[in-house]
Amino acid sequence: MTSPPKSPLQPVDSLDRRPRLAVHKLSSCDGCQLALLNAGASLLRLAERFDIVHFAEAGIIDVDAEADIALVEGSVSTAEEAERIQTIRARSRWLMPIGACATAGGPQALKNLANAEAWIASSYPEPQHIDARPTADAVAAHVHVELELPGCPVSTPQVLAALASLLAGATPLAEQDKICLDCKRRGQVCVLVTQDAPCLGPITVTGCGALCPSLGRACYGCYGPAENPEVATLAQRFAELGLDAEAVKRRFLFQQSGAAPFQQLLREWHPKPRAGSATASVDQGSSMTSEDRDHSMISASGEDEDD
């Protein structure tokens, strides 16, 4: 457990100018910028307290601007982005990647597990026009960062809380609690225990407010691994629920496949045989065994499909 460094800002009273905020974009869907743009009245207050120097989705464009605080969404996926992130770093005092792409590579990092060049060659008649590095990387793989805020998209309250702390001259708090603790604080019923849903909550860091379990769905880990994530133990549990080894691994192949604990699982994990257990494999479309269905006379939701 490490804390991010101290805020580069002094409490706002003692500042002779407004601090400058930049919101950069690399390879991404813009959803994290939109999470900020949708902050409503808080966005207006943010605009009063910061000099927003670059924020493309808000129509403010000066990509080379110097900034006290720079948020970056998106992965480093092209040669141009690999250069640009160096420039952004050099011109920003506090660099904070936001969202799954910027913190773990995002869904596009799935190509890191395959032969990306062969994919491109098979899809495009003239692949030389495609500017794509062989891997989609987290920002921190290229430059030093002060604090990462994960999520797909990033949590607006988390971004605002971090910015408010920085404005107050305080070190922002890095959320470390697992989804399970947040889920229980909200009085939600465990979908793994009541439905055998292959929920990633026990190893995923919160920030979303345990959103998927609140809707009776299994967490699919879009905020990425929490500290001390017992990934292999959870994978073994999924195997015991009836998922075959491939289906178990696919649970870790969404926005966060680039996260180190998930990479390790994908490389090393094999289900342990259980004495006396059936060896029948169940495909990913079903998260319950027939025995479970027999017992599940009152189901929590009308469906038991997977993501």
Binding site: L173, L181, G187, T194, S296
Partner: protein, 373 residues
């Protein structure tokens, strides 16, 4: 023993009506999201009528059953704890005044009389422990206010789950103390006995009759059966010596290979009281809010002291949970922190059984391990 009276089933609504007339907000069991949870209860039709709860390690399923009983299930994921020890609570606010000085304001929820219907013996024992922590020793103002305004209607447990072991810890399944009113459910209605003056006044307003000898015998037989049907047990009621003598037992390493360190056991435990506090500054810089949240000894923050994690891994965190719950509590509160409700077994996503771990670790111990009932 206080004499019981009998409330025919068709008059159960009268109890709700009386509580409502006295200004109580009724909280009671109901089915939500595949479990029995406690929440605001408008009338008795929302009770889990004809519902049972099948619970095994790591597994919980509701079942329709062929009867009209409302309380024929063992406990759900929570009962009293979230109502008193709020999972998320604002403690105070800081505002900057016109002169730029900070002003601190305590945040205290307005008083609200609450009546909880369907409280079990295990949860009453847990409440006594939470009282010792929050009301007696520290006089937490929010907890104490909610506790003061709380009315308790207990219902004795006739259908313990596979995960229950209250007979082993000595808390249940019969209710001996701690309620305003105690009910024992039978097919035709409820045996009722008052535990406080408030409870006696409620009884006076209910259409009660004398119970038959058959009804009294049936109630006693059902509670005895509930006691006998429990098959899990701890190896003793005071495991302090044997746990702390076994801090390097290989079982801690073994259980760490099965444990997710997710903290679900802590969150559902009715006696766990750890909390953390967070500062939430407003984006306009005008002030800040201090909130208290449920914490867990499985979180990193829980053992983070001055730049260092004292318990960095699952082994040390699980050991902290078990040795504190079954050992350290004796020093703090004069008894074990376990009331035998079995929630940590049913709601553990990987089905770790606290009684099995305690038995494995304390197997070579001491006289205290011999006093199991």
């Amino acid at each position: 023993m206080i004499a019981s009276r009998f409330l025919p089933r068709q008059h159960l609504q009268t109890l709700f009506d009386q509580l409502d007339a006295l200004g109580y907000r009724c909280i009671g069991p109901q089915v939500r999201d595949g479990a029995i949870v406690y929440d605001r209860l408008g009338d008795l039709t929302a009770l889990p009528i004809g519902i049972g709860a099948h619970q095994t390690p790591g597994r919980y399923r509701l079942e329709h059953q062929d009867h009209q009983r409302c309380f024929a299930w063992a406990n759900g994921p929570q009962a009293l704890k979230p109502l008193l020890f709020a999972p998320h609570e604002t403690l105070w606010r800081t505002e900057r005044d016109d002169a730029g000085r900070l002003a601190f304001t305590r945040e205290l929820q307005p008083a609200q009389r609450q009546a909880v219907i369907g409280v079990r013996a295990c949860d009453l024992a847990a409440l006594a422990l939470q009282d010792a922590h929050f009301a007696d020793a520290r006089a937490d103002p929010s907890y104490s206010r909610r506790r003061h305004d709380l009315l308790l209607v207990g219902v004795e447990c006739g259908q313990p789950a596979d995960t229950c072991f209250c007979a082993s810890t000595g808390e249940g399944p019969a209710i001996s103390t701690g309620t305003d009113l105690t009910l024992t459910e039978l097919d035709a209605g409820f045996l009722v006995r008052a535990g406080t003056e408030v409870g006696s006044a409620l009884c006076d307003a209910l259409p009660l009759r004398a119970p038959s000898d058959g009804e009294l015998a049936q109630a006693e037989a059902e509670i005895e059966q509930a006691r006998l049907s429990q098959h899990r047990s701890l190896p003793g009621r005071n495991l302090r010596e044997s746990l702390f003598a076994n801090l390097d037992h290989p079982r801690w390493d073994e259980v760490a290979t099965r444990c997710l360190a997710c903290g679900n056991c802590v969150a559902v435990c009715p006696t766990c009281f750890c909390s953390t506090e967070r500062e939430q500054p407003s984006i306009d810089g005008s002030g800040s809010t201090r909130v208290r949240l449920w914490d867990s000894c499985f979180s990193a923050e829980h053992s983070y002291v001055h730049g260092r994690l004292l318990r960095p891994d699952t082994r040390t965190r699980y050991r902290q949970w078990l040795t504190h719950k079954l050992g350290g509590w004796h020093d703090q509160y004069g008894r074990s922190g376990c009331v035998g409700c079995g929630r940590c077994i049913a709601w553990c996503p990987v089905g770790i059984d606290l009684t099995a771990e305690a038995n494995a670790i304390c197997s070579d111990a001491s006289e205290s391990a011999q006093e199991a009932p």
